[in-house]
């Protein structure tokens, strides 16, 4: 029996500025453990908006998000923060590394925040993740001294540090050239195949979407194909 990790229940969202418009209309779907799912659709169809609701960062919506059998509705800001810390790893279009910290410190931050392991353990785990992504030699460099493709890989390592239930990506290859895009995709593929990592990636890159296990297609705030 497969285990459901993430479930969207009747999600509806409105934007109120400048006029009230419905951006998401009654979205329902489930993601099981180990799935590599992509969401595609035209610009403005609401795919990113949906991702941020699923990520618990956006709380202004109707319906419910179930992560690991827990309802995210009515949770406090602090509780949502710890859900994000423990269960979700993020990779954005922009890397969002902290320039004041070294590469390994950037990777370690969410792990230190979780506080489940000692500092030394978090450090060795971070190094292990960097090694897996073949960037362990950059560990001690400042985050602003490495290339764009490398930064995105560091961001992936950071997403992995707490062994999250699911990795969410918002156009993770959007800012990268072809070569780096394919490196990032291969990493995701490897995570999915070898480590049975669940991934949910929003993209408009058709090539990227075709190579995932399942593609959800959205149009005008609705899912038109569950893949």
């Amino acid at each position: 029996m497969t285990k459901t990790i993430l479930e969207a229940q009747n999600i509806t969202k409105y934007f109120h500025d400048p006029v009230t418009t419905k951006v998401l209309n009654n979205i329902n779907f489930k993601i099981d453990k180990g799935e590599f799912v992509s969401i595609v659709g035209k610009s403005g169809c609401g795919k990113s908006t949906l991702l941020y609701i699923l990520s618990t960062m956006d709380t202004d919506y109707e319906g419910d998000v179930i992560i690991d059998k827990q309802s995210m509705k009515n949770k406090k800001e602090k509780q949502l923060a710890s859900v994000r810390n423990e269960k979700i790893g993020f990779v954005f279009q922009f890397h969002y590394l902290l320039n004041e910290f070294s590469v390994i410190e950037n990777v370690m931050l969410p792990g230190l925040k979780l506080g489940k392991h000692t500092r030394e353990e978090v450090e060795s785990r971070a190094l292990q993740k960097l090694k897996m992504l073949e960037i362990d030699k950059l560990a001690l460099k400042k985050a602003n001294k490495i290339s764009g493709g490398e930064k995105q890989r560091v961001a992936i390592a950071r997403a992995l540090i707490n062994d999250p239930l699911i990795i969410m990506g918002d156009e993770p290859t959007g800012n990268l050239d072809k070569k780096n895009s394919s490196i990032v995709f291969d990493i995701f593929k490897k995570l999915s195949d070898e480590y049975n990592q669940t991934l949910l990636i929003v993209t408009h890159d058709q090539g990227f979407a075709q190579n995932t296990n399942r593609t959800i297609i959205m149009e005008d705030g609705k899912i038109i194909n569950h893949g």
Partner: protein, 419 residues
């Protein structure tokens, strides 16, 4: 663990923007420096001015005022007991100004452990004769040792030695103004006549300058026995008993007590010099308000810099929130930055404040009115340093609190989607 992690992030942000941090800290340093210096200097001057009067004023003075009798014979008579008695043209009694039974009083006072010391005094009015003219003045018969110990008599002697009053018989110390009028120099003989018409000659052994011009124009000092001799009174003739206490605040209550026990008039320092208390109180308020204004201005400096830092660090705040840092963690990080700036800047400010006030302490300050003062007065009260450090922490905390609260409310979705 959590707090340590937040502290670590705060530290990194601080060091990464060390120039800004330094500017903010310099603001705090400057304001604390000025706060300390200003207060030390202002209260130093305050104390100087107060001491000009208060050092030489007894905490309690016992004397007999010339006044009509409190109990008129008509009131005492049994026959008129239930009547209202109206007596006109009441005159004061003809009696000496001395304190009755002063030996016993002095003995009692000397065994009172609230009292630091006492100095008996005989005050009388005399005329100083110079050629054809006569100048009215006052001669104070004093116990030189007691006066020196309790009322800093030596501080005001600009020429000669106070102890000569005791060692040389029939000697006198004149106020500077008075000596100038008499054209008298040390060693000269001064002629005086009493209100009874007796004439005496006294040797001038010193010049006295109190800083109060009017006082110096009329006052002179001689030993107790000299003045008793001038007045043709016995050695137990004392007109004033000056009392100095350990705790000046007890003076009003004790004055009342002595008034009852010894049946003399007793005036406390607070009643005699109320205007000085008011004056120094107002000067202190001015000093504090200027100092605190400086600190608040520094607080706005920190507020601005943190606000800017938060705009610059929007991305970092967004990713910290996305990866599981709660709003409260973000708030703590920025408050920590502010408080560290306050601590660092404040500590430097205390040190510079001390140094600057020591420099002022060395600046020469010579004035004719204050013969013993050579440099600007500074009050090194540790209390100012405590207030300065506490207040710098409070202002920086609040200067950090509002930007930090704003940072904690940043919505990461808006930042991340905006890219």
């Amino acid at each position: 663990m959590k707090l340590k992690l937040n502290a670590e992030i705060a530290k990194k942000l601080l060091i990464a923007r060390w120039r800004q941090t330094l500017v903010a800290a310099v603001g705090v340093t400057f304001s604390i420096t000025m706060f300390i210096t200003l207060l030390s200097f202002m209260t130093g001057l305050n104390d100087l001015l107060d001491n000009l009067i208060l050092n030489r004023t007894p905490h309690i003075n016992l004397y007999n005022d010339i006044r009509p009798s409190q109990n008129m014979p008509a009131d005492l008579s049994i026959e008129f007991k239930n009547y209202h008695n109206f007596i006109s043209s009441v005159k004061v009694k003809n009696r000496d100004a001395d304190i009755y039974n002063n030996n016993a009083i002095i003995k009692t006072l000397k065994s009172d452990n609230r009292i630091k010391g006492i100095a008996p005094k005989v005050i009388t009015q005399v005329f100083f004769n110079t050629g054809q003219s006569v100048i009215a003045g006052v001669i104070n018969g004093i116990d030189v040792e007691a006066e020196k110990n309790l009322f800093f008599f030596d501080d005001y002697i600009t020429k000669g030695k106070s102890i000569d009053l005791k060692n040389i018989s029939n000697s006198i110390i004149l106020g500077k103004g008075l000596a100038d009028k008499l054209l008298a120099n040390i060693g000269d003989i001064i002629y005086i006549s009493t209100t009874q018409g007796e004439t005496f000659s006294l040797k001038l052994v010193g010049i006295f300058q109190s800083g109060l011009h009017d006082f110096d124009k009329t006052q002179s000092f001689a030993s107790l026995s000299t003045v008793q001799k001038i007045l043709k009174k016995p050695a137990n003739y004392i007109t004033d008993i000056q009392i100095k206490l350990f705790d000046v605040n007890k003076a009003p209550a004790m004055a009342k007590e002595f008034n009852k026990t010894f049946e003399t008039d007793a005036e406390d320092i607070q009643t005699a010099n109320a205007q000085f208390e008011t004056g120094s109180f107002i000067r202190t308020i001015i000093a504090y308000s200027v100092g605190i204004t400086l600190l608040i201005v520094a607080g706005f400096g920190i507020y601005n810099i943190l606000n800017m830092m938060i705009y610059e660090k929007m991305d970092s705040i967004a990713i910290l929130k996305a990866t599981g840092f709660a709003g409260r963690d973000v708030k703590n990080i920025f408050i920590m930055i502010a408080v560290w700036i306050g601590l660092f800047g404040g500590t430097l400010g205390l040190i510079f404040g001390f140094l600057l006030s020591s420099v002022i302490d060395q600046i020469p300050f010579n004035t004719a009115a204050l013969p013993t003062i050579k440099t600007f007065p500074i009050n090194y009260n540790p209390y100012f340093y405590i207030i300065g450090s506490v207040f710098s922490l409070i202002t920086t905390y609040f200067a950090g609190y509002f930007p930090a609260r704003k940072a904690s409310k940043i919505d990461p979705v808006i930042i991340i989607r905006g890219k």
